[in-house]
Symmetry: C2
Subunit: 169 residues, 2 copies
Amino acid sequence: MAIEVLRLNHRIARDKRISTHVALTARAFGAGKIYYSGDKDSNLDNSVNKITEKFGGPFKIEHTENGIKLLKEKNNNGFFIVHLTVYGKDFKKYQNKVKNKNMIIVVGGEKVEREFYDIADLNLSVTNQPHSEVSSLAVFLYDVCGYGKFKDGKIKIVGSAKGKILKQI
Amino acid sequence: MAIEVLRLNHRIARDKRISTHVALTARAFGAGKIYYSGDKDSNLDNSVNKITEKFGGPFKIEHTENGIKLLKEKNNNGFFIVHLTVYGKDFKKYQNKVKNKNMIIVVGGEKVEREFYDIADLNLSVTNQPHSEVSSLAVFLYDVCGYGKFKDGKIKIVGSAKGKILKQI
């Protein structure tokens, strides 16, 4: 099962930290790749790649000039397209439709163009209350994939009651 | 059951959007209040209060000068303190300990001081991979509370397959 993410309309000035959080969330909860449209941002790429080198992969980040063209290609390659939006149907009612599928998950962006709603196989919400593309992606991926699995990292964190335990691998 | 959140060390320049996402995530998944330490930020307060006025409450946002003092007061009032941190124990193993409790959930901040690890009843992780305070809070709250319930809003979004449906209440 391949899970990928497309983050729309990244703006360097406005979105630097939010897009990093979207990418790390994608990685932590089992996606293998994130694409982003909007501004090409080598700081974003570097931040995410550093985490992957340190804590393991596989996880790729790639800029795309054209989100719709990418989604058409993915669709031709058998990927199911889920667009997470506050306006969509509650994802909890569609769990059976999205499990065990190769899938690309689209998240906004301040404003998402109409054509993304049209190209999506499903427009799904994680609550119809406004919150965050980071939290929508997290809850959705956690539900579909659980935690990601990683290899080839240099260090790992070992969960502890009070401390900070980092272990060389 | 009262659920509240404390967001640590807000910095206006760096965190404006992340802290807004943390607050809206708290609201969407059932918390009744968010406190934040660090910079007092009227833009943050206003952004969050506008969403509450429009989409419903109850939800409060309040700046605190001293996070530890606040947690001590909450503790004296019977609140259980959960600190979400990548270094903590996997939250999935502690679900029984946190359900149906009055609880304040602490999230960082770039750097979280030692004393927050010490005062917490539990230091819990949502994966031991680095990702985001927004996604940790979202997954944890979604698991503990599910979706929030709201009243006194002016509009609501009705989930739909392809459209954007806003309904006056």
